[in-house]
């Protein structure tokens, strides 16, 4: 096991940030922590990167104990915090060189590992980090986190605030790093990114709701799911919520996702109901549940 977490808890005063969490990450896996802001993802990251001591529980990273072997862990993990935290007044090259030296290595030694990423920012290597665009900052941060060839990479919301193209590129980079044998623990509030992980843990309020592959998580949705749309989405949500056998209703892009309690549910009945409520242009079709649907289901929103 690359990461193994057992019954970790941490509270800040009365707020229970992480509550008795256990999970395991296999070697070479991309493991996603999926959950809304405040779910406890960052706290968990800080504990696993030895920045924060847990109140109780144990954890091992790369076979080393989080508390006893913390120095060893620091030598073998890369951490990219959610907030850009490199030296803004140093140039791209200087930042990379600084972190390489701190880890007792050189850029040349591990250049092959960061090459794919670094070549994209190399034309700007004399530019100060503070003057880079968001996507380039993120690439630099990833390069710095990788420069000492870590075995485990911790990425805390790496794509928050990054444009869709850069996000896609970033995930492609992660896939390539995975092929080089690096275990990656990544957190994200975006459900579409969850599908790109090998396995995911759904987190909310300091608890883990479910751990499984994205496909299995989607399959956990208990009933059939329908896409519904009419001309008046707002009124549609109100009306669906007051439908007798309603199980869950929430907006999903241009659609409204609707699930019904009743096993014998027929879309035609719903159609009639909505027509009675004077909806026009009614569309009802069956759809595959996504991770987001399962998350909403499990978290009782």
């Amino acid at each position: 096991m690359s990461i193994s977490v057992k019954n970790i808890s941490k509270s800040y005063g009365k707020v229970q940030a992480v509550n008795d969490i256990s999970f395991e990450v296999k070697e070479g896996e991309i493991f996603g922590l999926i959950g809304p802001d405040g779910a406890g993802k960052t706290t968990l990251f800080r504990i696993l990167t030895t920045l924060l001591l847990a109140d109780s529980g144990t954890a091992e990273v790369d076979g080393k104990d989080m508390v006893a072997d913390y120095i060893d862990i620091r030598n073998h993990v890369g951490y990219m915090p959610g907030r850009f935290s490199l030296y803004q007044d140093l140039s791209v090259e200087e930042n990379l060189e600084f972190f390489a030296t701190i880890f007792g290595t050189t850029i040349e030694e591990n250049y092959d590992l960061i090459k794919d990423i670094y070549v994209q920012i190399e034309p700007f290597k004399k530019r100060r980090a503070g003057a880079l665009s968001g996507g380039m900052k993120q690439k630099l941060a990833l390069s710095c986190a990788l420069i000492h060839k870590p075995k485990v990479l911790f990425l805390d919301e790496p794509t928050t605030g990054v444009d869709p193209v850069s996000r896609k590129e970033f995930w492609e980079m992660l896939k390539r790093l995975q092929q080089k044998g690096i275990t990656i623990l990544v957190s994200t509030p975006y459900m579409d990114e969850a599908a790109l992980c090998d396995r995911i843990a759904l987190m909310q309020d300091g608890l883990i709701l479910e751990v499984d592959t994205p496909e299995n998580i989607s399959k956990r949705f208990p009933t059939k799911l329908y896409n519904v749309s009419t001309d008046n989405t707002y009124k549609l949500i109100q009306d669906l919520k007051s439908y007798d056998s309603m199980h869950s209703v929430f907006p999903f892009g241009e659609w409204v996702h609707y699930a019904d309690e009743n096993k014998k549910f027929r879309p035609i009945d719903l159609q009639d109901y909505l027509e009675d409520k004077e909806h026009t242009n009614i569309n009802i079709e069956i759809t595959e549940p996504t991770i987001e649907d399962t998350f909403m289901e499990l978290s009782d929103y």
Partner: protein, 380 residues
């Protein structure tokens, strides 16, 4: 602590990084080079207790040769400038009230006649005492001039009793050691250099680590295998070097611009200041461990600096403070450096003379840095 090559390399790269950051910070260069010059120039010239150019107005009710003689004595004195003659006491008081003059000398009518006939007379002197210290000094000057005038009159009027005069008066000539001409700048410049070194090392080191906290880089540093002592040494060494640089810079300004003597060996000043700077680096580091923003760190640092400066003996002598305040100054590192730098520069003191201060400052340095190191945690 192993001083292996790798260890040194880590420290060096941090030092190198700090210097790059210092010199890239646009606000930093003026602080390091221009602020010392301005402070030494302005403070040394302006923060003086010498009272000069006292404005004196007079009311001459006698208009005799004696009264004119007395007034001309003031006229030729370098300490006084005459603002003019007033016709009445009321007019003179108005002038003080309006701040047009500092002193009013009133010569009574029959001044000359009384002096000759009755061998005595009285003068009235009114001094604006808003600034009590200045008024005292002015009074001294006036008394001196009148005394001189008095002696001359005595000679004129009683030329045949030289012996009696000798018996009555004790002549004395003060000799001011270590600062013969009582040049205020000689006294101030060394003290101001101390203040400069203190402020720059204290403020910059205090804000530096907090700044890394603010921008989040401290967390990034903390996940690296970098060791506590490497980080602390790497962070503080640049400011130590900067402090020593400011010291040299300031002392050279003092020597070449103000002719402040350097009687003792600069080695002792260097020795003392290299430990002294450690005290303030430790304090700055300590403060930054308990603050989250540069603003908080700055306010706390200011609080201490103001107390340290006012109780350092720079502006007001420690001997004239109340006993409890004198006790407090025992814990003021600035006080010891000011003592040492004045002793070495003006008096030519050696290692033996500054030993008590050196021991005390070393204790401060050890205690302060010990507190700073134990309060710094890589994990929270």
């Amino acid at each position: 602590m192993r001083l292996s090559g790798k260890n040194m390399k880590t420290i060096l790269i941090i030092v190198q990084k700090e210097f790059k950051q210092i010199f890239r910070n646009k606000a930093m260069l003026p602080i390091i080079f221009i602020v010392p010059i301005i402070q030494i120039l302005i403070l040394s010239y302006a923060a003086t207790f010498e009272v000069k150019e006292v404005r004196l107005g007079y009311i001459d009710n006698d208009k005799s040769s004696y009264s004119r003689d007395l007034i001309s004595k003031f006229e030729v004195s370098t300490y006084f400038t005459l603002t003019g003659e007033y016709t009445s006491q009321k007019e003179g008081q108005d002038a003080i009230q309006k701040g047009k003059t500092d002193v009013i000398l009133e010569i009574p009518s029959n001044f000359e006649r009384n002096l000759i006939k009755e061998k005595q007379t009285a003068l009235s002197v009114q001094i604006d005492a808003i600034n009590g210290a200045a008024a005292g000094v002015e009074n001294g000057y006036i008394t001196q001039i009148i005394q001189g005038f008095n002696n001359k009159i005595r000679m004129d009027l009683m030329p045949y009793q030289p012996q009696q005069q000798n018996v009555k008066r004790i002549q004395f000539t003060p000799s001011f050691w270590y600062n013969q001409t009582l040049d205020y700048k000689t006294f101030m410049v060394p003290g101001i250099i101390v203040i400069l070194v203190t402020m720059i090392t204290f403020f910059l080191s205090g804000m530096n680590i907090v700044r890394e906290k603010e921008i989040g880089t401290l967390e990034q540093m903390n996940v690296t295998p970098i060791k506590k002592h490497q980080f602390i040494i790497g962070k503080l060494l640049p400011f130590w070097i900067l402090g020593i640089f400011i010291l040299f810079f300031g002392m050279n300004i003092g020597r070449f611009l103000f002719d402040v003597p350097l009687l003792g060996s600069p080695v002792w000043i260097l020795l003392f200041s290299s430990i002294y700077i450690l005290v303030f680096l430790g304090m700055g580091f300590f403060i930054s461990n308990f603050t989250d923003t540069q603003q908080q760190a700055m306010f706390i640092a200011w609080f201490f600096v103001v107390i340290f400066i006012l109780m350092s003996g720079l502006f007001t002598p420690i001997e004239s403070m109340p006993a409890w305040a004198q006790k407090i100054t025992e814990f003021n590192p600035v006080r010891y450096f000011i003592e040492v730098i004045r002793m070495v520069m003006l008096k030519g003191s050696g290692l033996k003379d500054i030993m008590p201060q050196l021991i005390k400052i070393s204790i401060f340095a050890v205690v302060m840095n010990f507190l700073a190191v134990i309060s710094y945690r890589k994990t929270t």
